[in-house]
Symmetry: C2
Subunit: 220 residues, 2 copies
């Protein structure tokens, strides 16, 4: 059945093709499903061909993460309106993109970051915060808070398992005497857990607070 592979033409491979295909495979089948052999097969190439462009599998995972991060939207396209509306838009776009790349979230959490960050969205967001008059210290803290919340929300609700049924079933199986409140709130909890608007709810809590502490006047 498996026929002998024709020799691949030269330069069919490069770091970016490897990274893009690796990320695609991981988003589809899960991070553990990515093997050198499966990746090479998808690229139509012998496993060892990859090693001409990359030294280890770790380097492939790093490249895939970097590739995914670089392509996240910066959300600054429709940059009009109040600063909090723009921040809102940036974060909604960022969160939506993370949910579309569950393996990227896994890679971000599982592997040392070496300081990497979604630089496009970060630049846009920090810019708005500074323009709104926040000090560098507060702008930094606000930015990191929003980043962490988006990551955590995307990570926890990552679509790796059929969610609603499972979530409710587990909640209802809890011993009601030890967890009376969880049992009582099983339905609204399950509904909110995988609801599209849950992320926006928390985002608006953060934005309301930031607005309340925003400086009245802009510095130079």
């Amino acid at each position: 059945m498996t026929q002998r592979r024709a020799r691949a033409p030269r330069h069919t491979l490069d770091r970016s093709a490897i990274a893009a295909t690796a990320l695609e495979l991981m988003d589809a089948d899960g991070v553990p499903a990515l093997t050198i052999r499966s990746l090479a097969a998808r690229l139509g190439v012998a496993p060892m061909a990859l090693y001409n462009h990359v030294r280890t599998k770790e380097e492939i995972l790093d490249a895939a993460r970097e590739y995914g991060l670089a392509r996240l939207p910066d959300g600054a396209t429709g940059a009009t309106g109040n600063w909090w509306d723009r921040i809102r838009e940036i974060n909604l776009a960022f969160h939506r993109a993370l949910r579309e790349h569950p393996s990227l979230v896994t890679l971000l959490v599982a592997r040392p970051l070496a300081g990497q960050a979604p630089t496009g969205a970060a630049e846009a967001q920090l810019r708005v915060l500074v323009d709104a008059g926040f000090t560098p210290e507060v702008a930094s803290r606000a930015h990191l808070t929003l980043l962490h919340y988006a990551i955590g929300s995307a990570a926890w609700t990552s679509p790796r398992v059929e969610p609603p049924a499972v979530g409710r079933a587990v909640l209802e199986r809890l011993p009601a005497d030890r967890y009376p409140t969880l049992a009582a709130l099983a339905e609204p909890l399950a509904a909110a857990s995988y609801d599209d608007k849950q992320y926006a709810y928390g985002l608006d809590l953060l934005l309301d607070s930031l607005r309340a502490t925003a400086p009245k006047r802009r510095p130079a």
Copy 2:
């Protein structure tokens, strides 16, 4: 050098010992470093002995996650004061515990949750929110927001790499023409990124908003 293993006594092994040792090894050496063979060696047992208590390695990872979740503090010990002070305490304890178990965070993000949750802390937190007068729907959303933020913060700042030096170095290596704001804020960003108080800053933003929307009176 490696001497022949003495035959292990019976019943030295059980699911909980396997789960506890697995989590300990992963927290120390990283999730990928856990192998059936290394785990068995640590337990003083032949690799195949594990399979009397567990069917697959996946089941070991599930057991380790469950074990870690069950032992997270519920933070309800010093449950006095205003409801927001108690929520604050619950979340600070939860976040601190997550940071002490980096592999637990990785397991939570990397593997299907099947609806699992840190039930002790969730029960305590939901209880306080309901007692404070929030509706089931709002209490659920507030709880999930706090949970997601704690997870994201712990995940992103997980101590897997020497942080401060790396973070700042990366920020300062960015092209200043494309990322002027990131470059300008490199110092406060790096300082806040791995600061103990960063999590509390965002937590207080959320709590301030929740307090502003809290019902004045408690229902029955």
